[in-house]
Symmetry: C2
Subunit: 369 residues, 2 copies
Amino acid sequence: MPAHFTPSPRIRRSPYFDATVAAGVTSFTVYNHMYMPTSYGDPMGEYWRLIRGVTMWDVACERQVELAGEEAGRLAQILCPRKLDGMKPGQGWYVPVCDHQGVLLNDPILLKLAEDRYWLSIADSDLLLWAKAVAAERSLDVTVGEPDVSPLAVQGPKAVEVMIDLFGDQVRSLGYFHFREAELDGIPLLLARSGWSKQGGFELYLRDASRGTELWNRIKEAGAPYDIGPGCPNGTERVESGLLSFGGDTDAETNPFEVRLGRYVDLDAPDDTIGIRALRAINDRGAKRHQLGVVLDHGAKIPLHDLHAQVFRGAAPVGKMTTNTWSPRLERNIGICLVWSGVIPGDTVTVELPEGKRIEGEMRELPFL
Amino acid sequence: MPAHFTPSPRIRRSPYFDATVAAGVTSFTVYNHMYMPTSYGDPMGEYWRLIRGVTMWDVACERQVELAGEEAGRLAQILCPRKLDGMKPGQGWYVPVCDHQGVLLNDPILLKLAEDRYWLSIADSDLLLWAKAVAAERSLDVTVGEPDVSPLAVQGPKAVEVMIDLFGDQVRSLGYFHFREAELDGIPLLLARSGWSKQGGFELYLRDASRGTELWNRIKEAGAPYDIGPGCPNGTERVESGLLSFGGDTDAETNPFEVRLGRYVDLDAPDDTIGIRALRAINDRGAKRHQLGVVLDHGAKIPLHDLHAQVFRGAAPVGKMTTNTWSPRLERNIGICLVWSGVIPGDTVTVELPEGKRIEGEMRELPFL
């Protein structure tokens, strides 16, 4: 797909846009109606820097849906089939958001800023519309909107060193998915220990879009001793680590149990939680599909397929491979599959790539690494 | 922004994708989580073919939100602040969809297929989530989903000739925005007289995604005597014609009155119509902004700006230019503005382009042509 990307006023620039262009961004995708960098021209270098060093990512497209007001907590609980009773300000929790049939609509991080203020830090769907509709239809005393907040991720094993240099030693004690308010040269932020990789890292939730370039450059400068470089949410590392890509690994019928999010569903969540009755029923009868990895028996690197590939066990179609990658650490082609629940790790399958090529593979538990 | 586009399983291919690649597509955007072609490498040729001849567009990304069931009509009315009483099967109506505060969420064409089946043929936002939430929260007897429907537009003054050759003379009598069921070599379609241009044309709502290439080639063949060529929703023609680009010309506060959609709001729509009370109040006090055109006083072609440009009258900021283009027919740079209601046609303004250049302009009524 050797095609260019057409800019449009319909698609928003990130506050880091100019900085990423200066840093040599070579490709984009669109995520939540915003450009998101996907490469700076050196995919292998960007991968290894994430695995061994530290990278900085423009993930401003991870937009926030803010719930603010007296009943913000009540709305959060209505939207999330995970019991939120024990949640404290300063915590972020991974939550599936489902429709009334239990179908996954998004897989945000829910940040509790205060008893009356929450952010849903969203994947790629207009969850703002969903939350707005529910709030209004239930006449809740809550305002739903998109605040001026744009995350910048600092990811990789050396990210913590960069953060300590910037924010001091207390950074070490910040728990996973926890966050606190912070400032850098007067730039207002939330500093969170989070990010869409399993290499460790932080997200700086910039709270003033006018200061994107300034923040980018400040991080770049602080990271220089650690050889920080620009990077992006990494399609290879996330497959190795088994991270979910909402919209990529899911379809119009996917429920949380199918994609390893069952642990974030509390079946005893309040009865007025959207989807909870459907999720209880699905849990009772067992999900029809589940998510597994596949290791493909093919020496050469298979390019990323943006189409789902059919998966067969013997002659029977059993599901689809939703993404694939060449793993530099495993030195194998691997993929993530959504398959019939009867397919188990160890099974031999055949994956039919969109161009027709058939490749043998073996099912594995996720994550790979 | 000379960057490439990264394919992703998160972004869907249109059923016409292969055909557009074969036709030489050179760039894409993303619209409703789907690739949409934006050029075949000859922008001026594509423009003039639309104005003088006939072009075919992959607009599968114009997805449908289907309302099906006993209370489909009731849900449609709840979602649309335009009175739908008089609507007949076979008609399509342009409708603003607003939130409870009267803010525009989308500007679809509502197609009435039957008393118990409607499609909202949507612009670029996940209206599916909105409609699903409202239907479920009001416990309506209606199913909301996205059917397998993918429009292919045939646009331009000669489009009618192509359609007559394919479907017979009765095509002439099809009213604007009206549609009927049709077949082409057994390919199931809705044939509608519609499309996102003012050059006349049709949309073929393909109802079987597996037959996209077949339909594309059938149209290409039928159009050959009329020199049909591949094209795309045309950013220049739509500015000349004053067509709204939702998400591009609108922002998080835009109401229908601000963007010339007031004529599609019926203030006496039922009280349980979402947003109607807010819209009545806005109408009473008058909208603060309105949409006008601007003709820029600059000889050279100004490239498209994907950022909004500030507009000043004298020293006072009065709004923004939301898009701009070089009009080959007017031989002028023109733009669409969202400005304070006190700014009127004939006013002289200054537009500050994102890179800082300031250009004089004169406000005009829309459309330009």
